[in-house]
């Protein structure tokens, strides 16, 4: 039986990708951002997951305004890095896991989550920056990846509770997949940031840290945080944190926090990172 062995949460700031690609990770500005991932890189090298279900949002790369899927699952064999306006990131092509992806898609639809199925897609920084943070700069990613793209750009995005419930459905899907796979679920994006308007640059370290606490301690309360609270307290782009709840919902009722990191700033954004493990 396939099983979910861990969850990872991380910001996916594009400037972090640029810092890695340009060899700036040891610069004074970037060093404290990356130092918080040292533990996680060692940990994941030992864990060797077979598949990562990587929850992220597309930033006007694969999806333009023609089609806006709320939950889209990538079922392709592979996914190329997108050209976001300055050429594609120099990172390996992302290898998918079509067997598991199609299984999850079917299972979730039967479970009343009407997933959009994507057979051809390029993936942007939302997906590739987390891979770089956890795996560095390998010639090939050491894991298969199932992209799960969530609309958090055009309002309304899905509610936190809906994200949590999708996470639970994903867990049921994974556990009904024949084959012995170690699967991780990653929730990416956030934490507080606002990239637009006169209020841009907003950071709310207190709120972010409460959110990090609640991921392992009082997680049921996370489900009912309304969109307006994310907007007011964490900036217009802080809404990305609803995607962490898909990961959290997939881990079950109790988790152990293995690692935690928080740093301000990376470009306009507060960087948050957690490694969680389900408690059986």
């Amino acid at each position: 039986m396939a099983r979910i062995t861990a969850g990872v949460a991380t910001s996916h700031v594009p400037a972090i990708g640029a810092a890695i690609d340009l060899g700036k990770t040891k610069d004074a500005y970037w060093q404290p951002v990356f130092a918080g991932y040292d533990w996680s890189r060692q940990w994941i090298a030992g864990e060797k997951p077979d598949v990562v279900i990587l929850v992220y949002n597309d930033h006007a790369s694969a999806f333009d305004m023609k089609i806006i899927p709320t939950f889209a699952i990538g079922c392709a064999e592979s996914f190329k890095p997108a050209d976001e306006g300055w050429g594609p990131r120099p990172v390996p092509t992302v290898e998918g896991h079509p067997d598991l992806a199609w299984h999850i898609a079917q299972s979730c639809i039967l479970d009343e989550f009407d997933m959009t199925i994507i057979n051809e897609m390029e993936v942007d920084h939302g997906l590739t920056v987390p891979l770089s943070l956890l795996f560095g700069q390998p010639d090939a990613w050491p894991v298969k990846v199932i992209p799960l793209a969530v609309n958090v750009v055009t309002y309304p995005p899905p509610s936190g509770n809906r994200c949590w419930l999708l996470g639970e459905a994903i867990r049921r899907a994974v556990e009904s997949f024949p084959g012995d796979l170690k699967v991780q679920v990653w929730g990416t994006g956030g934490m507080s940031h606002q990239l637009q308007g006169p209020r841009a640059g907003l950071i709310n370290a207190e709120w972010d840290n409460r959110f990090l606490d609640m991921m392992s301690q009082d997680s049921q309360r996370l489900r009912s945080i309304p969109h307006i609270e994310y907007l007011r307290e964490t900036g217009s782009e802080g809404i990305e944190m609803v995607m962490w709840l898909i990961m959290r919902g997939a881990l079950g009722s109790e988790v152990r926090q293995l690692h935690r990191h928080y740093h301000v700033p990376a470009s306009n954004t507060a960087v948050g990172h957690l490694v969680l493990e389900p408690v059986a």
Binding site: P14, A15, A18, H59, A60, S61, D64, M65, K66, A82, D83, E84, G85, W86, G87, V153, T154, Y155, P156, S159, N161, S192, Q194, L195, Q196, G197, P198, R199, A200, G201, L202, I203, N204, A205, W207, S224, H227, I228, L231, R232, E233, T234, S236, E237, V264, P265, S267, N268, A270
Partner: protein, 135 residues
């Protein structure tokens, strides 16, 4: 979960200072701004855009206000006209600007002052949560 009232859900967004939430109303208004911006993801389109911006805009269903705001790189105005920041990012990326540089232009601060604010922990949410509450 209790059912949300869509009208109060949307109305609350207008109570956030200095913020344009990308609602369906904005998305409909700015559809072609965003689709134009999206076209700059292709290198051949970037080359045509750089060669003659005004001529490039003629190919899109944009009104004069929208064209003027694009040419002026007036990002706050573009948000009002229905632009979304992730789409607008294709314009400033093509200009060679980072998110930080482009975002600072919307705040009335210099890039240096904005950068210094971020290094000092960012903009505090105090006083900018709600127009009505003034908190």
């Amino acid at each position: 979960m209790s059912h949300l009232d869509i009208h109060s859900y949307l109305a609350a967004f207008d109570d956030i200072p200095g913020t344009r939430v990308y609602t369906v109303a904005r998305a409909r208004k700015g559809y072609w701004i965003n689709q134009f911006a999206m076209s700059l993801m292709k290198p051949e389109n970037r080359a045509r855009w750089k060669a003659d911006e005004t001529a490039y805009l003629e190919g899109w269903n944009l009104d004069d206000d929208q064209k003027a705001a694009i040419l002026a790189r007036d990002y706050n105005r573009l948000l009002d006209l229905g632009g979304n920041i992730y789409f607008l990012a294709k314009i400033f990326s093509t200009d060679g600007l980072s998110f930080l540089q482009a975002v600072s232009t919307m705040t009335g601060m210099s890039v240096e002052d904005y950068q210094a604010m971020m290094l000092a922990g960012g903009r505090s949410p105090n006083g900018v949560r709600s127009i009505k509450e003034g908190n």
